[in-house]
């Protein structure tokens, strides 16, 4: 505490310096607004023409010039990037005259307001890497989470859907993965409050996890700013290594009340089905697998459990589990206000049924954002939201009881039901539990109630200094309830007479912040400085119960169970206390210097390393404004940027890793304790040092905007569980070992290809972004590589990207024997696990998005493509469905090309029931090209002409037709190359398709309008 006193003293001094300077002289005040957005223009110079008297507008675009002479003055507002505006105003002695300005942007992008964390800045002054995504770019995406909607929208941000189930957890990587064991997901900050992000469900749904990101409705969001480089993100210190997504929600304007509605109805269907073998193909294939191994035809039925008559009727299991499913969203909002009070109230209902039976997601949101100006100096604003989510989940992916899993795995020879309507089961020969029965009879609901918001007060001491206090919270209660029906034959719940699980998890985060901002213009120079402190309290508390044995299926809570077989209850928490500061200095409106420093103290780290300091600096240079450039023809505006900074990562699951602890160790029903963890008092953050070089180029008055960046992220002191000598009685401890590197390029290009001369003319704009990232592990504990993932194919090895695929190297099929040929990597004459080599990477070489919008009169057509190139997908389903008949699972139809007799040239090895052809071995044969282009969105909207709209009291009314995931161009043979069956928490086991829930293609029809 001692170490922070100076900061607090400084604030205290600033506070007590409340000058009672309310001396009312003759003055001119007003607001400078952007003529298009109506947003206040920050930092505009307002000057009385012909004098040196003037000032600079504050953070909301307001200004006041005091002690002016009475009379008529010509007042001019100017800001680079805007055309200057002049107004004449008359001031009476002792009074305050008002002169408001609306200025027109010359290069609109330069005046765009960027949310930077504890403040905002105009794009022109930003010298770090920040990507901005506007609300309209993500609105009406038929997905639950804003993270999914972000896919392809911003350079440097990679979004992986993982699976297509409604409300699924999404993987987001800002400039690559930087950690092995701590989280790689970005920090989400909503209206200034860091949001709870992680998975608090206690249900094991294989890879189909949920995250707390879905709690926010995209309908409520005004804009997203992604702080990508260290100098932008370092103000968030120890949690900023993975980038920061700043979410700003919509707010009211001082206008007449406006009622808005945005609604759509959609129809979803599975984007793609996988061609599996029919019953007769399967029977022939399996018989071939045994005949190839020398079995007698007569003995085969005893081995496989069916004979050739099984081929007579065929079931397409995929048709049985997929269904057309509706999706709809209705969002209504009311906003408006006066000069003193503005409000934004909204409610939304999102309902998405899954395209797989038994899955659905729905969410209700309400939000009330208020801005209240108590006095000329004090303003208060609140951003409060409440949501309810209900997610009907079913298992897929890596499980024996998955719906999609077993629809792929179950042979087509089995019917879904008996003639009496009951489900078939393993008793009828099915290899696994019946997928339709699982989807129909099982139940698993994760329901979340959540309150999220903050109240802040801003006090303006004078035009230079203001102080903001903020109290915020994010509290969610998540309830899991799962029912495993005893009617599903062939798994534990049948013998236990039903299994019910109920879990409750309450996670909360409270935050208080106080920061002061000082804003001062010195002639053509401008200083903006921020100093503040923040305290954050986090906790999560869980309960869990599992009951078995139920009198009847009407009872589905553990309370009705015959016995409780598992229970849990615990609490954990961590706190974070910080001071932060930042200074921006704009010199001649041409050189932009930015420095920031944050010190974080975290309860997660030991007394020896509890505090971490995260400094960053950046420099922007508006080179096009230099006089030496003026000799050249004016080509546009060019800004060069350079930045360097340190950020941290503290996202480990153990909140008490520095402490040696005893945990529960009961014996014979008596309570017991035993040493459970050995503490590491030296534990500290992972640190990422990031360098960024970039440029912003605007030509033709902003019609072409090109933003480019090169970066290098070097992450060291990786948080890993490191082994300790077992003779100590312990197995491992958290330590800082190893390093990882990410480097890459990003380009964002926005062009206005056709600029109409009238508002109704033909307009065509293109948005394009592309990112290259190269990830490389540079050091590990003892530099010892290790593997993870399904069949341990994901490798962590120095010099390779994290999670690179390591398998046997498939070189083809021997035309004489039909056996798979694998590369003898170590040359010992045998094919063993030692012959595994890196055969691919789950990370794309590059990815991005391409959007085109064409509008003419009221019509607008928008198409958005999203792409990813160069990643491999590990099609792990082939372990069972491309195995040459080693397992009884149904096979992919492409296995029909298997080698049949000497001389056959094919790349599918001989079928073999005994697994002697190598077809069943995990090799590069299971790695597929995961590159794809996807027509992610196509929207046609029509703005209803005012004369018709007026009839229905509508303003700005438009209708739209939209499609999502319309078509994917890929060589990948599975459902979706944008996949990971291990889920959003996976750091290493990436790029794996193990029966992941496929994506939906959606067609929507919608309406939006204001009343």
């Amino acid at each position: 505490m001692k170490r922070w006193r100076p900061g607090f003293y400084a604030l205290a001094v600033l506070l007590s310096a409340t000058s009672a300077a309310l001396a009312q002289g003759t003055s001119i005040r007003g607001t400078v607004r952007d003529s298009a957005s109506r947003a206040g223009v920050v930092g505009a110079q307002v000057q009385i023409v012909g004098t040196t008297r003037g000032t600079i507008t504050d953070s909301v675009g307001e200004y006041i010039i005091r002690d002016v002479a009475a009379g008529t003055h010509s007042v001019r507002a100017q800001r680079l990037g805007y055309a200057s505006a002049t107004r004449t105003v008359r001031v009476n002695p002792g009074e305050t005259a008002v002169a408001d300005f609306a200025v027109n942007a010359v290069v609109p992008q330069l005046t765009e307001v960027v949310v930077t964390g504890y403040g905002t800045a105009q794009r022109r002054e930003v010298s770090s890497a920040v990507a901005t995504v506007q609300a309209q770019e993500i609105s009406n995406a038929p997905v639950a989470g804003v993270d999914a909607a972000l896919q392809g929208k911003a350079a440097g941000v990679q979004v992986i859907q993982n699976a297509g189930n409604p409300g699924n957890g999404i993987t987001v990587r800002v400039r690559g993965a930087s950690s092995i064991s701590a989280s790689n997901q970005p920090l989400y900050v909503i209206d200034g409050v860091p949001m709870i992000r992680d998975n608090y469900s206690q249900l094991d749904m294989a890879g189909q996890d949920v995250t707390a990101v879905t709690g926010i409705s995209p309908d409520e969001i005004a804009s997203l700013d992604i702080l990508k480089d260290a100098s932008a993100a370092a103000i968030y210190g120890s949690r900023a290594s993975n980038g920061v997504v700043m979410i700003t929600t919509k707010r009211g304007q001082a206008n007449r009340p406006k009622l808005s509605i945005n609604a759509y109805n959609g129809w979803q269907e599975v984007e793609k089905k996988v061609r599996m073998m029919t019953a007769s193909e399967y029977v022939d294939f399996m018989f071939d697998a045994l005949l190839q191994d020398g079995y007698d035809e007569a003995d085969i039925p005893d081995q496989v459990g069916f004979d050739r008559t099984a081929a007579t009727s065929t079931t397409n299991w995929q048709d049985e589990i997929f269904r057309p499913a509706p999706v709809r969203d209705v969002a209504v909002s009311a906003s408006g206000g006066t000069d003193r009070t503005q409000y934004f109230l909204s409610g939304a209902h999102f309902q998405q049924d899954g395209i797989v039976i038994g899955s659905a997601y729905n969410r209700q949101n309400i939000r009330g954002n208020f801005d209240f100006k108590a006095t000329n100096r004090l303003s208060v604003r609140s951003s409060l939201a409440f949501s309810r989510e209900a997610n009907q989940r079913n298992e897929n992916d890596n499980t024996l009881d998955g719906v999609v899993t077993n629809a792929i795995a179950t042979a087509a020879i089995f019917p879904v039901r008996h003639p009496d309507g009951s489900f078939t089961s393993t008793d009828d020969g099915l290899t696994y539990t019946n997928p339709v029965a699982i989807g129909t009879l099982d139940d698993a609901e994760t329901r979340t109630y959540r309150g999220l918001g903050n109240v802040e007060a801003n006090f303006l001491f004078n035009e230079k200094f203001n102080l903001t206090g903020r109290v915020g919270g994010d509290v969610l209660n998540l309830r899991d309830l799962r029912w495993n029906s005893p009617q599903i034959i062939g798994r534990y719940a049948a013998s236990a007479n039903g299994v019910a699980q109920q879990g409750n998890n309450t996670a909360s985060r409270y935050i208080t912040e106080l920061f002061g901002t000082y804003d001062q213009a010195f002639g053509t120079n401008h200083l903006n400085a921020t100093l503040g402190t923040s305290s954050e309290w986090n906790s999560s508390e869980l309960e869990f119960m599992q009951g078995e044995g139920f009198a009847n299926e009407a009872f589905r809570y553990p309370g009705n169970a015959g016995k409780i077989t598992s229970y849990d209850g615990s609490r954990t928490g961590h706190n974070l206390v910080s001071v932060f500061s930042r200074a921006n200095l704009a010199i001649k409106d041409r050189y932009f210097l930015n420095g920031s420093l944050r010190e974080d103290g975290s309860s997660r780290f030991g007394v020896n390393n509890r505090y971490g300091i995260f400094p960053a600096a950046s420099l922007g240079w508006m080179i096009s404004d230099e006089s030496f450039m003026s000799s050249l023809p004016r080509f546009g505006d060019l800004k060069l940027r350079a930045s360097y900074g340190l950020t941290g990562n503290q996202g480990i699951g153990d909140d008490f890793a520095p402490l040696t602890r005893f945990g529960k160790a009961n014996y014979s029903d008596a309570p017991g304790i035993a040493p459970s963890d050995i503490g590491n008092p030296d534990l500290k953050w992972e640190t990422t040092a990031e360098t960024d070089l970039g440029f912003d180029l605007f030509v033709l008055g902003g019609r072409v905007a090109l933003l480019g960046d090169w970066y290098n992220k070097d992450t060291r002191d990786l948080l890993v569980l490191r082994p300790i000598a077992r003779s100590s009685g312990f197995t491992s401890f958290w330590d800082n070992i190893g390093s990882m590197e990410n480097s890459g390029y990003e380009l964002g290009l926005n062009t206005t290809n056709l600029q109409p001369s009238t508002a109704n003319g033909l307009r065509w704009t293109t948005d394009f972004n592309i990112s290259w990232n190269r990830n490389r592990v540079t050091a590990l504990y003892h530099d010892e590589p290790f593997n993870s993932g399904i069949r341990s194919v994901n490798r962590v090895e120095v010099g390779a990207p994290i999670g690179a695929f390591q398998t046997l190297v498939f070189q083809g099929v021997d035309p004489q024997t039909g056996d798979a040929i694998f590369k003898d990597v170590n040359g010992d004459g045998q094919i063993t696990a030692d012959d595994r080599a890196i055969v691919g990477s789950p990370h794309p070489d590059y990815w991005g998005g391409l959007g085109n919008t064409v509008s003419w009169k009221g019509l607008e057509l928008r198409g958005f493509f999203q792409f990813s190139q160069g990643a491999e997908v590990y099609n792990a389903m082939r372990i069972f469905s491309g195995d040459g008949g080693f397992n009884l699972d149904n096979k992919f139809a492409d296995q029909l090309k298997s080698w049949k007799q000497p001389g056959d040239i094919t790349n599918v090895p001989r079928s073999s029931w005994d697994g002697t052809s190598g077809a069943d071995l995990v090799s590069s044969r299971f790695m597929e090209d995961g590159s794809y282009w996807r027509l992610q969105e196509l929207t046609l909207s029509y703005k209803i002409p005012q004369r018709y709209a007026r009839v229905s009291q509508l303003d700005n009314a438009s209708v739209f037709l939209s499609g999502r995931n319309i078509k994917t161009w890929t060589k990948y043979s599975g459902y979706n190359p944008d996949v990971n069956s291990i889920g959003s928490s996976a750091n290493i086991s990436l790029g794996t398709d193990f029966y992941a829930y496929p994506l939906a293609r959606t067609w929507q029809i919608g309406l939006r309008g204001d009343f």
């Binding site: 103290g601 014996y667 082994p723 077992r726 003779s727 009685g729 312990f730 197995t731």
Partner: protein, 480 residues
């Protein structure tokens, strides 16, 4: 200052100052105090053993460690039999296959788990031995009982290590730090035995507990018979065994020892308690799938045939392998071995897959066999007859014909003792350490000496690679 105080302050401003001061308070109340959190589902080391109740709880923690699925809950027992000729691998675990093939490498995960679970047990006992003496306001007899039991569990665990690995790291105090834990070296076998006996000597006088699911003074004496046997201190075995005669006797029926609910028997000396919640894996791993098990391991036909499989003179062990034909003369074989409907041999000593049966660590039957072996080894006047008499106590209870000592040589008597030991203690984790101890491992395991399955160096298991990696002073056993 002067005038400001005289002028009434703008009330809004006043409120603001209060507000700002409140914010500041919230901010400054933070720092170190806010950053020092105590875990709520675990307890810090320094606050763990502080009074009589928590000391007792930590002692329970040591027994809980014995329950581990890699210790008496399973793997430790499986490995001690899989390495021998008694038990084979029939399931899917490749680490078990390696043990069955006597080809255990240093990176074997199960081996690491066994090592880890034994040292975790020692870790708890070291905490008790170090901290309980300093617990304030606690009855000395209570302290002694707890420390004595901890010493017993530690001695048992050191012995389990030394018999499988030879020289071992021998921590006697809790790890002072991560760095200190990495500095450990191996202690020679002789020194480990000295420590074990010292621990037992202390424990014997300290323990007051009499419940056989926890250590008792009798358990200490019984363990001493086992330890002395390994040290070839025959007189020590005999004396210790004799001291137990007054307090223990054989259970009336062999089957009484392995009931699902862990009935008490007069033969119990020390057993690890299990319940349906804190269960062992033994029944689950041995039983066939039709009996709810996973049939991961199974008794060998060699073990089956050692029992003398049938009274039928036409019995041919090579052809008769069916459930119907399995009709052993020794009731212990009928209890320990069974065939399922698909005629697959499986172990049935632990009768249910639930795992609630208590696992005997030491029972009086073993003590009698230890004594019989010591008598035969001492081979004083009449000792061979006495040894056979001890064996006959076991055989009488089993319900098989008694042996006649007349005219037997020492070697013949020893063979009969070894055979009885194998039959009586089958599937209880004795066979491999016994084979090594009596020097028969290589001859028994290598029917074709020209083409040996087990080499001399494999009589000791390798030190797990994971520990070698982090402890620079640890040296691997030769051959690995």
């Amino acid at each position: 200052m002067r005038s400001a105080h005289l002028t009434p302050m703008n009330p809004t401003l006043m409120k603001l100052r209060v507000l700002a001061a409140a914010f500041l308070l919230v901010g400054t109340a933070s720092c170190d105090r806010e950053l020092t959190l105590a875990p709520t589902d675990k307890v810090e080391e320094s606050a763990a053993i502080v009074d009589a109740a928590s000391a007792r709880a930590a002692l329970n923690g040591a027994y809980d460690a014995l329950q581990d699925g890699s210790y008496y809950g399973g793997d430790f027992l499986f490995y001690s039999d899989l390495l021998s000729d008694d038990v084979q691998h029939t399931g899917t675990f490749s680490d078990f296959a390696a043990a069955d093939a006597n080809h255990v490498l240093a990176d074997n995960e199960t081996l690491l788990n066994i090592w880890e679970s034994i040292y975790a047990t020692i870790g708890v006992t070291n905490q008790l031995i170090a901290r309980v003496p300093n617990v304030p306001n606690m009855d000395q007899a209570d302290k002694d009982d707890i420390i004595g039991q901890a010493l017993f569990i530690r001695a048992l665990s050191f012995h389990n290590l030394v018999k499988l690995w030879g020289d071992i790291p021998m921590p006697l105090t809790p790890a002072a730090s991560i760095a200190a834990a990495s500095e450990i070296e191996r202690t020679p076998v002789a020194q480990v035995y000295t420590q074990i006996l010292a621990d037992l000597a202390q424990a014997e006088t300290m323990i007051s507990n009499t419940d056989t699911r926890h250590a008792t003074a009798g358990a200490v004496t019984a363990l001493r018979t086992r330890v002395y046997l390994y040290q070839q201190n025959w007189q020590g075995v005999i004396d210790a065994a004799d001291a137990l005669e007054a307090d223990y006797q054989l259970a009336p029926e062999y089957a009484d020892l392995f009931t699902p609910d862990g009935n008490d028997t007069p033969e119990d000396i020390f057993r690890v308690s299990f319940t349906p919640v804190e269960f062992n894996d033994v029944g689950f791993y041995y039983l066939s799938r039709s009996f709810g098990g996973r049939w991961e391991v199974a008794p060998t036909t060699a073990l089956r045939d050692t029992y003398g499989v049938s009274a039928d003179p036409n019995y041919d062990p090579d052809t008769v392998q069916t459930r119907a034909a399995f009709n052993p003369v020794d009731p212990r074989a009928a209890w320990n071995i069974a065939y399922d409907s698909r005629n697959r041999i499986f172990g049935s000593k632990i009768p249910t897959p639930v795992g609630a049966e208590d696992i005997h660590v030491i029972r009086f039957g073993e003590v009698i066999l230890n004594k019989a072996e010591a008598l035969a080894q001492r081979n004083g006047a009449g000792d061979l007859t006495l040894a056979i008499a001890e064996v006959n106590r076991i055989r009488a209870r089993a319900g098989v014909p008694l042996l006649n000592a007349t005219g037997l040589t020492q070697a013949q008597v020893l063979d009969l003792v070894y055979r009885e030991r194998r039959l009586e203690l089958a599937e209880e984790g004795f066979r491999w350490p016994d084979l090594v101890r009596i020097g028969q491992a290589l001859t028994v395991m290598n029917p074709d000496p020209a083409n040996p399955d087990v080499e001399q160096y494999e009589l000791l298991l390798p030190i797990p690679q994971a520990d070698l990696d982090v402890s620079s002073k640890l040296v691997q056993n030769p051959g690995y």
